[in-house]
């Protein structure tokens, strides 16, 4: 990574930490660990299932909220505070600024998720007293959640490159919700005919397929996640977010900042 990109990445990360965003994860971890014994009271045999579903869903939801709400301010804040002009007056290219911001937020989310994962496994250990081999599958689910963050952060940054923070948040969240129905959209496309079919196919391929990245239900039931799914989901998330960042760069390159 070039030094300018690394500097923007680290600065974005530091800024997010200074925003006390990471405090939420400490609260999350403490709450989850503290409530773990309560899950055992709910029902015999269900405590682990509920803990896994609640824990992984919370990691995913917290992360997506952070990705959207920090992501929308990444560009607009710099313009508002006029710090963007200082940055771009130095030998920093616009694509480096956008990509650095993206990587900085991703770093924040990965650290956030790492802390939440520690809290989650601590809660799991308290509730079940031991780890089993199937629990390794939980890490795959968490890895997929991080891949979701890759996509959500990229689309948030894409919208914030041309829209106001409020609209960026609405667009990004709406696209994420539509993405969770991407498979239904493709099923609909298969049943439709004529122009509707082609429009539905185009929409289905264009929206981010985040539903494939959600395997919480499977790992909660100790189902095996195939290596191929891990490989192709990784490729998909990396390439889709790269495409979204490329569009953000193209828009930002043309944006009149005067």
């Amino acid at each position: 990574m070039n030094s300018r990109l690394a500097a923007i990445t680290l600065n974005t990360f530091r800024e997010a930490v200074r925003d006390r965003v990471l405090y939420n994860l400490i609260i999350f971890a403490l709450l989850l660990v503290a409530s773990a014994p309560l899950f055992g009271e709910i029902s015999i045999g269900l405590e682990k299932l509920i803990l896994v579903n609640v824990g992984l869903s919370a990691i995913s939801i917290f992360g997506i909220i952070i990705a959207i709400f920090i992501g929308i301010g990444l560009v607009s804040k710099e313009i508002e505070k006029r710090t963007l002009y200082t940055i771009l007056s130095r030998p920093v290219r616009r694509w480096e600024f956008v990509t650095g911001k993206y990587l900085g937020l991703l770093l924040t989310l990965v650290v956030n998720t790492a802390f939440m994962t520690i809290g989650f496994f601590a809660a799991l250990l308290i509730a079940t007293r031991t780890f089993t081999r199937d629990d390794a599958g939980l890490l795959v689910a968490i890895y997929f959640i991080i891949l979701q963050f890759f996509i959500v952060t990229a689309i948030t940054l894409l919208f914030s490159s041309f829209s106001s923070p409020v609209f960026s948040a609405i667009f990004a969240f709406a696209l994420f919700v539509i993405g969770t129905f991407a498979e239904d959209l493709r099923n609909f496309a298969n049943l439709a005919e004529g122009l509707t079919k082609w429009l539905a196919i185009a929409a289905a391929w264009l929206v981010p397929n985040v539903s494939s990245l959600n395997v919480i239900a499977q790992v909660a039931h100790a189902e095996h996640i195939s290596g191929k799914l891990v490989l192709f989901n990784t490729l998909y998330a990396l390439l889709y977010s790269t495409a979204a960042i490329a569009v953000a760069v193209l828009i930002f390159e043309r944006r009149n900042l005067k």
Binding site: D184, A217, S226, L239, T242, E253
Partner: protein
């Protein structure tokens, strides 16, 4: 070249390559997930009541989504002519828990459930339970009684229950007059082809839905071919009794004055007289729902298979 136009070209190239790569990866994900579909099939939330609480008041929207899923699930299994539709009943149950007034889910869902496999799930008892659930939630909707009577008549062969359903339905507001007629005729003509024909005719005339109309029309066509085969069987038997041997072709019956010409089915194909005296249609695929005159062991070709 300016550095900015350089980065534009790179960004466009990255965009195109990454997007195409993402689509290719996604198609691979679909293939891998296809193999895991059976695992996912069992992972739906089994309780509609729980889903209703989780839906934050948007339960009718969620019901529509679940109904769409039920239709897609049935459509996929139906197309593949699979024998098991394990998730159909839970999906319909969730749909109708979420929106007890979604009439279409009871009317069509119960038919999906009751039809014998591979056309349907072959679970008429569950279909009856679904329609009865619909009647409890919508007691004045007479068409649900018609659907209930239909399932009892065709799939459960319980003519008494069918008569009761038609009778009760006929007393509901807005019920067509023929519901009462059907309830009355059921006592005498239950089990006869003519009565089945009557039900399909009534359904054909009363429905606004083109799919239901087409389905009724296909059943009527199949019944008319079956009636023709029954009549021809009688003439073959008459010939056998008169001559002491089976006719070797339709011409034997024509020469004996028992037929005017070679009989043809509704698809305009001549019927085949087999050496054992049985009668078969030339192309059963063109006459869906036919139960007589189908060659032994014949299976409807799947859409992607050559006929």
């Amino acid at each position: 070249m300016k550095p900015r136009s350089n980065s534009t070209i790179v960004a466009v190239a990255v965009l195109v390559l990454a997007f195409v790569g993402a689509l290719l990866s996604l198609s691979q994900v679909d293939q891998v997930k296809g193999k895991q579909a059976t695992l996912e099939e069992v992972l739906y939330i089994p309780s509609g009541k729980t889903l209703k609480k989780l839906s934050l008041g948007y339960n009718s929207l969620l019901a529509d989504i679940y109904w769409t899923r039920a239709v897609q699930y049935f459509g996929h299994k139906h197309q593949e002519e699979e024998l098991h539709y394990e998730l159909l009943n839970p999906l319909l149950d969730i749909t109708t828990d979420l929106d007890p007034h979604l009439i279409i889910a009871y009317e069509f869902g119960s038919i999906f459930l009751s039809q014998p496999s591979p056309a349907g799930a072959g679970e008429p008892d569950k279909a009856v339970a679904l329609v009865e659930k619909g009647i409890r939630a919508n007691p004045d909707y007479w068409r649900l009684y018609f659907t209930l009577g239909y399932i009892h008549y065709f799939d459960r062969k319980d003519y008494k229950a069918a008569r009761e359903a038609f009778q009760t339905g006929s007393e509901k507001p807005g019920a067509y007059f023929w519901m009462k007629v059907m309830a009355a005729e059921m006592a005498q003509h239950a089990g006869e082809t003519s009565f089945a024909e009557e039900i399909w005719k009534r359904l054909y005339e009363s429905t606004q839905d083109q799919m239901v109309k087409d389905n009724a029309q296909q059943h009527l066509t199949a019944l008319s071919v079956e009636k023709l085969i029954d009549e021809l069987n009688k003439r073959v038997e008459f010939f056998r009794q008169k001559t002491g041997q089976l006719p070797s072709s339709w011409y034997d019956l024509i020469r004996a004055g028992l037929l005017r010409g070679i009989p043809i089915d509704t698809a305009k194909n001549p019927l085949k007289l087999m050496p054992d005296g049985s009668i078969q249609v030339a192309d059963p695929a063109k006459i869906p729902f036919l139960t007589k005159g189908v060659p032994p062991g014949w299976k409807k070709p799947k859409p992607h298979e050559p006929q």
